[in-house]
């Protein structure tokens, strides 16, 4: 499984969508129903899974799946 697939699997665990339904322009809060707690927990999951360090301020600016994927790519 590549990083992108693994990333989408994690997102799907948090919302009512399957991996196939997820698109890059989907917004975490408005479209996928994340709240503050689930979003921060999700970021923690990303750090642990991909062994990366997220800058909190930077990570909090993320609103869409595409933005999160870009950030992930830049760190791995």
């Amino acid at each position: 499984m590549d990083n992108r697939e693994e990333f989408l699997e994690i997102v799907a665990n948090y919302c009512d969508k399957s991996v196939g339904e997820l698109t890059e322009n989907m917004r975490f809060r408005e479209d996928l129903g994340f709240n503050s707690l689930s979003f921060m927990t999700f970021l923690g999951d990303l750090e642990d899974t991909f062994d990366i360090e997220l800058e909190e301020d930077e990570a909090l600016k993320i609103t869409t799946i595409g933005e999160a994927l870009d950030l992930l790519e830049s760190l791995t």
Binding site: N13, S36, L37, F39, M40, E47, L60
Partner: protein, 463 residues
């Protein structure tokens, strides 16, 4: 077959600590009546409750006797084929029926390796029929209880009306194994530990604030002969609990929800801000306030439906100057909470220990007088066959208050309003104190929502 033993997860451990401290299991009980104002087929309801013992693994949790250090292990019993008792309280007044169930709430599950839940079908006055659930908090938290009640009623609707059979619930054991693995992730633990150390030291030692004002801390300073003491004594002898419930109307609730949606802030932070602003007012404009926020750590699908207790609590400290505008103060609160959420896998017991080790406050003292838990999910059955039927869910206090003031905010089952449920230590506080607290919280919240650019200082002096 050999039992597979597991330690408690951090959420369960947090519930277990008061049992260790007070020596009574009672302080760890949740008791609730949940019912509908309609006729119920109790024979069918019994079958659904019995099915739930198969579906919801956490209901079959058992705990071993404490070891020499007082720690317990847990395992999941293979089956629980119990009968489900039924009682008819319909000929009583609602007050008498509640008093009867309140008495049952004090019953303890004090033996090792026994079932830690009792479910009784009840016919209540005023046409309400349903079930009374008496359960150890380590098996479910309030979110877990709501999932369970909803699942039982979904099963009922399936058998009674032919609606879709509910989806399976997640395995408690699988999620527990995952939790324990996460807790043992050294890298994650080191990151969290560093965060909490920095968080607890960046502003020095916190200071206690009380709705009764500065005199509470002054008294503790006198008791300990320490004029610079910043933590206050905790009431440990008389833990009897008082309850004060207040209902916020649906229109007012909607105004708050709209404000939160429009400003991208959470209701939790709005409530926390009103609590801290009142404490500030009552303590001479104190800018440095610490509250305790309880969150149910349920984010993934599996975490939502696995049961167990996933409630964790952490100190939420904000230093807000009087010239800060209400909306900015709210964003400051949100920023603090977001940073905490990123590190909320860390054991809250270790956070409290770290705080004690850093500043050496005497035993049985606290920096925090008020705790909050906000429960966004109503105890409501979503099935279309039950829509429009009045529901009643009533939470019975377990009789032991381990916190000075513990506010639970929920959404009403029937009208969409909010319920502010204050549990307080009767030895030191009264119903009138809670009424005043609620009054000022509402006043400050609505003033801030109407005038988001009002400063905190102005809010304090003009409220």
């Amino acid at each position: 077959m050999e039992k597979k033993l597991y330690p408690l997860n951090v959420g369960q451990m947090l519930q277990y600590l008061p049992i260790k401290e007070t020596g009574t299991q009672r302080c760890c009980n949740i008791s609730v009546f949940s019912g509908l104002q309609t006729e119920i087929d109790f024979g069918l309801l019994k079958k659904c409750i019995q099915d739930e013992f198969k579906r919801y693994e956490c209901l079959r949790l058992r705990f071993t006797a404490p070891d020499k250090d007082g720690n317990v292990m847990q395992y999941i019993a293979d089956s629980d084929n119990r009968d489900i008792p039924y009682i008819d309280l319909s000929d009583r007044s609602m007050q008498d029926a509640d008093a009867f169930l309140q008495e049952k709430t004090y019953e303890e599950f004090s033996e090792p390796e026994i079932p830690m839940v009792e479910i009784t079908m009840v016919r209540m006055p005023e046409g309400y029929n349903g079930m009374y659930i008496h359960i150890d908090h380590r098996l479910v938290d309030s979110s877990g209880l709501i999932v369970m009640v909803s699942d039982i009623m979904e099963l009922y609707c399936h058998y009674r009306f032919g609606s879709e059979y509910p989806k399976p619930l997640a395995s408690f054991e699988e999620v527990l194994i995952n939790d324990l693995a996460k807790a043992n992730n050294e890298k994650r633990r080191a990151k969290d530990e560093k965060f909490w150390h920095d968080y607890l030291t960046e502003n020095g030692e916190p200071i206690y604030s009380d709705i009764k004002g500065f005199r509470v801390l002054q008294e503790s300073r006198k008791n300990h002969g320490d004029k610079s003491l910043r933590a206050a004594d905790v009431e440990t002898k008389d833990r009897s609990v008082g309850v004060a419930d207040f209902h916020l109307e649906p229109e007012a609730t909607n105004a708050l929800l709209d404000f939160c949606a429009n400003q991208s802030v959470s209701m939790t932070n709005l409530i926390l801000l009103s609590m801290r602003t009142y404490l500030s007012k009552m303590n001479g404009g104190q800018e440095d306030i610490t509250l305790r926020n309880f969150v149910s750590r349920r984010s993934t699908h599996s975490e939502w439906t696995c049961g167990g207790s996933r409630v964790l609590s952490f100190p939420c400290r904000t230093i807000i100057t009087p010239d800060t505008e209400f909306l900015d103060a709210l964003y400051e609160m949100q920023d603090v909470m977001n940073r905490i959420y990123l590190h909320c896998n860390y054991d809250p017991v270790l956070v409290d220990k770290m705080l004690k080790d850093l500043y050496g406050a005497p035993d049985n003292t606290e920096y925090i007088s008020m705790s909050l838990t906000y429960q966004p999910m109503p105890v409501r059955v979503q099935n279309e066959h039950l829509r429009g039927i009045n529901a009643r869910s009533f939470w019975y206090p377990n009789g032991a208050a381990t916190k000075r003031i513990y506010l639970t905010v929920t959404h009403s089952t029937n009208d969409g309003g909010m319920i502010f449920d204050y549990h307080f230590q009767k030895a030191v506080l009264s119903y009138d104190d809670m009424q005043t607290l609620y009054y000022y919280m509402m006043k400050m919240m609505f003033r801030g929502v109407d005038e988001p650019d009002i400063t905190i200082g102005e809010l304090i002096t003009t409220s």
